[in-house]
């Protein structure tokens, strides 16, 4: 492209918007802007408040999620334990105080008795193989 073409386009561009700018009442615009800015502190405070609330909510979600995730990854069978805890909580919630006392008494009795067939030499359930675990569970069923 020759330079004349550039010069013509640039010359036209310099005139673009002149009419609109010429019609602008600068003093009135300045007054209106200042009037609107007087409302700014209130709006700004609200905006900041909302923003902080959003940030706090996001933090709660992130931190809560991280805590849950870390607990789940630390435990051997996270899905099972969470599932079990859920049902135990639900079931216990349905029991009356009298019934709860009965459950605890039964549990004490079961633990105190020799009815649970724990294999010889075992001190930790995690050391048991699948066959031994089945035997323990069967003895718990009575």
């Amino acid at each position: 492209m020759n330079m004349d073409g550039y010069a013509r386009i640039e010359s036209l561009a310099k005139r673009l918007g002149n009419a609109a700018a010429g019609r602008l009442d600068v003093d009135a615009t300045a007054r209106k802007v200042v009037e609107r800015l007087r409302e700014q502190p209130v709006r700004r405070a609200l905006w900041i408040q909302q923003t902080w609330l959003q940030i706090a909510a996001a933090l709660v979600i992130v931190v809560g999620g991280a805590v849950v995730a870390s607990r789940l990854t630390q435990k051997g069978h996270p899905a099972v334990s969470a599932h079990a805890a859920h049902f135990v909580a639900d079931d216990l919630g349905d029991l009356s105080a009298e019934e709860l006392r009965g459950v605890l008494a039964g549990f004490d009795e079961m633990v105190g008795s020799n009815s649970i067939a724990v294999p010889e030499g075992s001190t930790d359930l995690r050391e048991l193989d699948a066959h031994q675990l089945r035997a323990v569970l069967r003895s718990l069923e009575g």
């Binding site: 492209m1 073409g5 550039y6 013509r8 386009i9 640039e10 036209l12 561009a13 310099k14 005139r15 673009l16 918007g17 002149n18 009419a19 609109a20 700018a21 010429g22 019609r23 602008l24 009442d25 600068v26 003093d27 615009t29 300045a30 007054r31 209106k32 802007v33 200042v34 609107r36 800015l37 007087r38 700014q40 700004r44």
Partner: protein, 182 residues
């Protein structure tokens, strides 16, 4: 002979600091300095003439509300013009949702003084229409350079690009506009 008293003109940075300290007059002074160039930029970028006043106000409001983020990477006016570009983009979105006239139709406002319309050359109208066909970055680089007379370094700082890229955008814009206007 009495020498005329020279009143020192406060630089924009001083006025910005004064505004941040609560001086409303400083804000009004900044509006007075930059409102017309901003109006030219907005009109050139496709703002309907009837809305230029509102868009100028909105641009200043946004600028003053976020002036803490202005780090002096470019002149205040250049920064203001880029905010004006964002305001105009949002205006265009709202207008599209309301299904009112598109921006390029608004450029040739049917209301107003017929004499002034007669003065507007056909080439100018073609250029205005051609600008609407350009990508936004090309359009803004072109206006900042050709209309506002800014250097590529200044444009690059305002639009977060490099002077070389700004130069390329400008030349692409001029090439396309020349085809439209010829």
């Amino acid at each position: 002979m009495v020498q005329p008293q020279v009143v020192p003109v406060a630089p924009d940075a001083a006025l910005i600091l004064a505004w941040q300290a609560g001086d409303e007059q400083a804000a009004a002074e900044l509006v007075g300095r930059h409102a017309r160039p901003l109006a030219r930029f907005l009109a050139g970028a496709g703002a309907p003439e009837a809305d230029v006043d509102d868009l100028v106000q909105e641009t200043f409001i946004r600028a003053f509300r976020s002036v803490d983020r202005f780090r002096g990477q470019c002149q205040f006016r250049t920064w203001l013009l880029t905010i004006g570009g964002n305001v105009l983009k949002d205006f265009g979105r709202r207008a599209a949702r309301r299904k009112v006239l598109p921006l390029d139709d608004g450029v040739r406002d049917a209301t107003g003084d017929p004499h002034e319309h007669a003065e507007a050359s056909e080439a100018e109208a073609l250029l205005a229409a051609g600008l609407q066909q350009l990508p936004r970055l090309q359009r803004e680089v072109f206006l900042l350079r050709a209309q506002q007379g800014l250097e590529y370094e200044e444009i690059a700082a305002a639009l977060a690009t490099t002077p070389g890229a700004a130069r390329v955008h400008y030349h692409h814009a001029v090439r396309r506009l020349k085809e439209v206007v010829k």
